[in-house]
Every structure is written in structure tokens, then in C-alpha cells.
């Protein structure tokens, strides 16, 4: 057999092989390109980018990031203030929107003793967020766009030219010179607030929590609620024509838009209204400011009624929002949050509940007595949950169905405690075996130390 090597045939064979391999490589590249698919996916997301969400909906940003609690002094005592007619936090937000910082932020306090002097100084009205936000969130208070320093407390002095921003966790207070604000009305509202509950601010793991010094009768509110249909959320989050697959598992349905965007819908017969939206995208976890801003973008995308929705907690890669009724957060299904966004390196998860507090029912006089906070903390310590393990303690509403109407719910005030990174009501913590939590926490500490 005669072997005859021909260059032409060899190169033709080689070139054919190369173009075949190249086409396979290019095809794989296209199919696995994150950027490509994430961009295509966004075509169905109402054509709104995160950037637009930041620039365009500043009203919504302020509405979500309203301080939720106010403090002032009455008869020499620190009090939590509340007035439904003259909403203090709304009045503050109206003014802070007009405010501009005229100089750089200057740190003036960084010790606990000095910080507590400010907390207990009757010259200041305090407006407080439930958790820390960053300086860059509101640009007009800070010209540096990437300032990730955090604060959770505004101190309003007697002057309209200076404002102080405090961080409970670090004991730092920053002084900012401002123009354009007039807090005279706010100070007047604070002096004349209808409810003034005496409190002392007690340092817990994640900052200062108000401890009510006396038992109080907190109001029980009622609402008629409704829920948007699952198709509303599928259409908003995945678009009207892009849904590529639908799978059913354990009664829950998962709708997918390409490989990268999914929505898990609860079983309509289960009576549950918890959804989970997942968008797979490889990227770094955003910094603190961008986590807050991006979470706002996702909240807008959901299309929930945002009237009562407020920023509630920012914990590592999580940012969560709750409905606030009369200054008190509402926990759903005992301890669920209304919206919780979780950022990771390969996906963004948005867990949310579709409940809408649609129609408020006039207050019928029903109240619930809440014990002084220290008594509650002491009882929890006896149960095994010590004060040093409590991150926060607040009064929140737990929802209870009213038997008189299928969509009527009552909001019952009770203590909510955050410990071991979990929010639970007092009743729920009392049912828990806290030693298990302690052991897990200890194990985590030990593993971290290795």
C-alpha cells in the first residue's frame, strides 16, 4: 500500500476540524455568557435599571428609608414620641429632602461614654432607623458617592445649621453643616407629641434598644387585607411572554425565564403567600450602599404596595423591609419579613410576601398590655436567652386572623427579639430550646477561630 501525503488534503482536513471545533467553542461561549443572558433577561423587567431606580425614584427611596422611631424629652425623661396627626418622622423627611450639606462630615465622638451623653441630652430630638444605613444613600448629605460609613440615628439640635449622625454600633457621631432645612416644626411636634412613652436606651449587641420602663397598653389595629394573584408577579418579574418553563414541586410552582431568572410561587390552596424570586448572576457582593440601593430596585420591581413599607434590617448580605403601622413593624406568619433581599456571589434572592394591608379599620378600643422591657429580658434570661446574646428587642405586631371576616386581620403588639441572627416573637423564643442555638453559635465561633 502506497502512502501518498498531500498537503492540500491535509490542510483542508485540518481547517475543517478547526472550524468545527471553533463553532462548538463559540456556541458554548454564547450559551454560558452571564452578561449576555442577564441583559436579555432585563428586557422583560419593565425596562428599568437599578441606576434608574436610584436616580428616578428618589421619592420612593425616601419613603422606604424614613426613620421609624423618634425620641425626645418630657419632664426630664427620655421618651419615645408618637403623634399620628403630626407624623414626626414624615415631617423630618420633608425637611431632610431639602437639606444640603455645606462641608465635609466631621467625626466628633467615638467613645461610648460620650455617645451616651448625646443619647441622654434633652437638647436633641432623635430620629432613628431600625438599622444602620450608609452616608451615601442620600447624596445631598454627602458629596462622596462611595462613602460606606454607616449611621442609624439623627440628632436634631436647636440649630437648623447643624445636624448630627450617630452610629449605635461604633459609638461614633458625625457633625454635618447643612443649609435649606427648618426643623422648627419638628421640634414643636416633638414637644407636643400625643404619646410619650418613658424609655431608657439600653446597649445590646447591635446597638441601643428602647426599654420601656412602665407597662403600657398598646393598641390592637385591624386591617382588611388582599393579595395580588400569582400571575401579577409572574408578569412583573418574568415578563408576559418570556416564561420558558414551569415546574411543579411539593405544590409550589417554579416559573423560569431563560436559565437565569426564576420565581417560586406558593400553592394557591395552601393559604401561604410567600414567593421567592431568584436571579442568577456571577458578580461580587455589592458594597453596603449598593446593597441598599439594589434592594430598593428589587422592591420596586415586585410591585407591592409600598405605602407602609420601610427599611428594617441590613444584616451582612441581607436587606429586609417590613410594613410599619403607626410606627410599629408588622411581622408576617409570626416572624416572616415582608421583603428580604439576599445578595451572594452567584445570585440575588428576593423572598417576599404578597399581603397588602389594604383598608385600615377604625380603632375599636382594644389594647394589649406590654410588660416593662427589662422584665421580659429577665424572663428570657431565665429561659436561657441571656441579655448579652440579644441583638435587638422591639415592639412589633404579630398578625392574627379575625373570625368575623376572611380577609380581616388583627395586629397584636408583642415583643420581638433578634438573637442568633433570627427575629422571633417573645412567645416563639420561649418555646425554643435556646441551648441548641448557643451550641451552634459556639461551634461557628470555634470553626471561625481555626
Amino acid at each position: 500500500m502506497k502512502f501518498k501525503f498531500k498537503f492540500g488534503e491535509f490542510f483542508l482536513g485540518l481547517a475543517t476540524l478547526i472550524v468545527i471545533v471553533l463553532s462548538i467553542v463559540l456556541w458554548i461561549f454564547i450559551m454560558t455568557s452571564d452578561q449576555r443572558f442577564s441583559n436579555i433577561g432585563q428586557q422583560n423587567q419593565n425596562n428599568v435599571t437599578k441606576e434608574q431606580s436610584r436616580n428616578h425614584s428618589s421619592k420612593s427611596l425616601y419613603d422606604l428609608y424614613i426613620p421609624t422611631t423618634s425620641y425626645g424629652f418630657a419632664n426630664g425623661n427620655l421618651c419615645q414620641l408618637y403623634d399620628s396627626k403630626n407624623n414626626l418622622t414624615l415631617e423630618f423627611t420633608k425637611e431632610i429632602k431639602k437639606t444640603k450639606a455645606t462641608n465635609k462630615i466631621k467625626k466628633i465622638v467615638n467613645t461610648r461614654a460620650k455617645y451616651e451623653e448625646y443619647l441622654n441630652n434633652p437638647n436633641y430630638v432623635q430620629l432613628v432607623y431600625p438599622d444602620e444605613i450608609t452616608f451615601s444613600l442620600f447624596n445631598q448629605l454627602n458629596n462622596a458617592a462611595n462613602d460606606n460609613r454607616e449611621f442609624n440615628r439623627f440628632f436634631i439640635s436647636q440649630s437648623n445649621h447643624w445636624i448630627y449622625l450617630g452610629n449605635d454600633q461604633t459609638n461614633e457621631i458625625y457633625q454635618v453643616k447643612i443649609t435649606g432645612a427648618n426643623f422648627d416644626k419638628l421640634r414643636k411636634y416633638a414637644r407636643n407629641a400625643r404619646s410619650k412613652y418613658p424609655v431608657r436606651l439600653v446597649r445590646l449587641k447591635e446597638g441601643y434598644s428602647p426599654f420601656y420602663t412602665k407597662a403600657m397598653n398598646a393598641r390592637v389595629y385591624s386591617y382588611l387585607t388582599n393579595h395580588q394573584s400569582y400571575s401579577y408577579f409572574v408578569s412583573r418579574l418574568l415578563g408576559t411572554s418570556g416564561v420558558t418553563s414551569k415546574t411543579n414541586k411539593n405544590g409550589q410552582t417554579v416559573y423560569s425565564l431563560n436559565y437565569y431568572t426564576r420565581l417560586r410561587v406558593p400553592d394557591s390552596n395552601s393559604g401561604k403567600h410567600n414567593y421567592l424570586y431568584t436571579h442568577y448572576e456571577k458578580h461580587k457582593i455589592p458594597n453596603a450602599t449598593n446593597r441598599l440601593l439594589d434592594s430598593v430596585y428589587y422592591v420596586h420591581q415586585l410591585g407591592l404596595t409600598e405605602q407602609d413599607l420601610r427599611f428594617f434590617d441590613a444584616d451582612g448580605a441581607n436587606v429586609s423591609y417590613l410594613n410599619y403601622i403607626e410606627g410599629i413593624p408588622v411581622f408576617l406568619n409570626k416572624q416572616d419579613l415582608q421583603v428580604k433581599t439576599t445578595f451572594s456571589t452567584d445570585s440575588i434572592n428576593v423572598a417576599f410576601n404578597s399581603v397588602n394591608f389594604q383598608i385600615p379599620i377604625p380603632f375599636d378600643g382594644q389594647t394589649k398590655q406590654l410588660r416593662p422591657t427589662q422584665d421580659v429580658v429577665d424572663d428570657l434570661a431565665n429561659h436561657g436567652l441571656k441579655q448579652e446574646n440579644i441583638q435587638r428587642i422591639i415592639v412589633g405586631f404579630t398578625e392574627e386572623k379575625d373570625s368575623s371576616h376572611h380577609s380581616l386581620i388583627n395586629l397584636i403588639p408583642t415583643y420581638y427579639i433578634k438573637a442568633y441572627d433570627e427575629w422571633k416573637s417573645l412567645g416563639e423564643w420561649e418555646k425554643q430550646d435556646v441551648s441548641t442555638y448557643r451550641e451552634v453559635a459556639q461551634l461557628t465561633v470555634n470553626e471561625g477561630g481555626r
Binding site: 488534503e9 483542508l12 482536513g13 481547517a15 475543517t16 472550524v19 468545527i20 471553533l22 463553532s23 463559540l26 456556541w27 461561549f29 454564547i30 455568557s33 452578561q35 449576555r36 441583559n39 436579555i40 432585563q42 428586557q43 423587567q45 425596562n47 428599568v48 435599571t49 441606576e51 434608574q52 436616580n55 428616578h56 421619592k59 419613603d63 403623634d83 399620628s84 396627626k85 403630626n86 407624623n87 414624615l90 423627611t93 382588611l224 404596595t305 405605602q307 407602609d308 403601622i325 403607626e326 410606627g327 383598608i359 385600615p360 379599620i361 377604625p362 380603632f363 375599636d364
Partner: protein, 274 residues
Amino acid sequence: MDHKRIEWLFFVVFFLIDIYLVIEILRSPVNLSNADTTTHSVASIRNEMKSDNIDLPDKISDAPDSGYYLATKNRDYLSGKVSSLTNVNARYSKSDNVLYGEPRQAVLLSKKSKEALQQIKDFKNDPKNVPYGKEFKYEPDMSSEDNYVFVQNSDYGEIYANSAQLNINVKNNQIINFTETYMGQASPVRELQSTISAWRAVRAMYTDRELTNNSRVTQVKLGYSKLTEVRGSTILLPTWLVWVENKTTKNITMKRVNAYTAQMLQSSTYNVEK
């Protein structure tokens, strides 16, 4: 020879596929979510309205406002007042909760519109003529030459509802009769909350196709509208009231936009006869 042809065919086909795939990669994906899109659309929405021949008032505020959920107790407020109306012949209809009154003596009005309006206000403020008259406020945008409309006022704003209205009918410069409905004192059900701006309400109407071509927005006001009745109370919520005039027929319609959510309130239009 056949083998070579097949090889050439493979080479050409895959080469073309490669070119196509490279073009696909180089061509950036169609990005409909361009950062300028919404900003642009917000700015151009006024132009779009203009091209649809929709006129807007010179100034519509873009600043958010604030309002409450209010509640009034559902009671028969007017029936007990009939006996105290000594200057008018009054009767009360329990079925539709309306008080009808006719002056016993002629009430002559000035021919000057301002003076006539003042005389009518004086008439309704007299408790012998109209019960709770002082709680009603003149609403020029709902009134016409022979029908003066007053809406019930509250500490928190005006209530625009059929069940909170006073209509005084005039003919030949004389008060002929009046009809009155009254909801009682309103009180806040929840705390003061921020609302959308007037401009955002008009924009929501336009995007919801509630503003037809060839129309004119004549007035935008914040007022309270009826939401529902529950547990013996009527719940009111802040609404943007938008008066829209059809340029051809000159008909004026008042529409309502939920000032919290920017949603249209259904079956809530009110036709104004000028």
C-alpha cells in the same frame, strides 16, 4: 473525490456558522433597559401628551403631599335637625339620607356674582336654614350659574363624596331650594402619610389611558374620597381630583386617583354641568 467534496462542504458550512457566531458575540445584546430610557420617557411624557392634544395647567406640582385615612361614623345626622330649620320647609328622605329644603321666604340675590355668592354663603351658614352649614365649603369647579355646590370640609381637608355635599339651586337671582347630605365629623384612622404628587397622578391617568386625546386638564386638587364602608364607619382616603374637559363637547368630568398608590378609583367620575 466525493470525500473531498464533502470535506469542502463541511468546511464552508462550519466557516459560515463561525462567522455568524462571532457576529452574534460581537454584537452587544439588545439592551432595552438603557439607563436613559426612563428619564427620557419622564421628560417626554409631556411632549407625548401635547402631541395627543392634551393640555395641562401651567403649573402642576411635582412635590409629594400628605394625607390620612379618615373615618366617619355612619349615622343619621340630618333627620333630627329638620325641626330646627325654622326658615325653610324641610323634609328628610331616610332612604337616600338627603335633606331637601326650600326657603319659606324668597331669598333674593345680587346680580353681581361675587355678592350673590356671599349671600348664598350667609344663607347656608345660618343653622335655621342649613344644618352643619358652616362645615361646607364652596367648590367653584363643581358649580354652575344656577347650581352652587359646597363640599363638606374637615380638619384634614375637603370630602368629595355624594354623601357629603350641599347643592343650592338658584333661578332668577333667587334661591329656589337645596339638597344636603352629611357624613359627620371625620377623624384619622391612621397616621399622616406621604402621597404622590399632583403631576404623578396626572401621569398615572395618562398611562392608564384615562386621559383621552383632545382634552384639557383644568384643575388638580387633593381631596378625600369614599373608599368603603366597614364596621359601621365610612373610610375615606386622600385622592387627587382631576377635572378634565373634552375640548370638543366642553363636557367636564372629575376623575379620582388614589393619592397613595396612583391607581384610578373606579366608578368615581363626576360630571360638571356648566
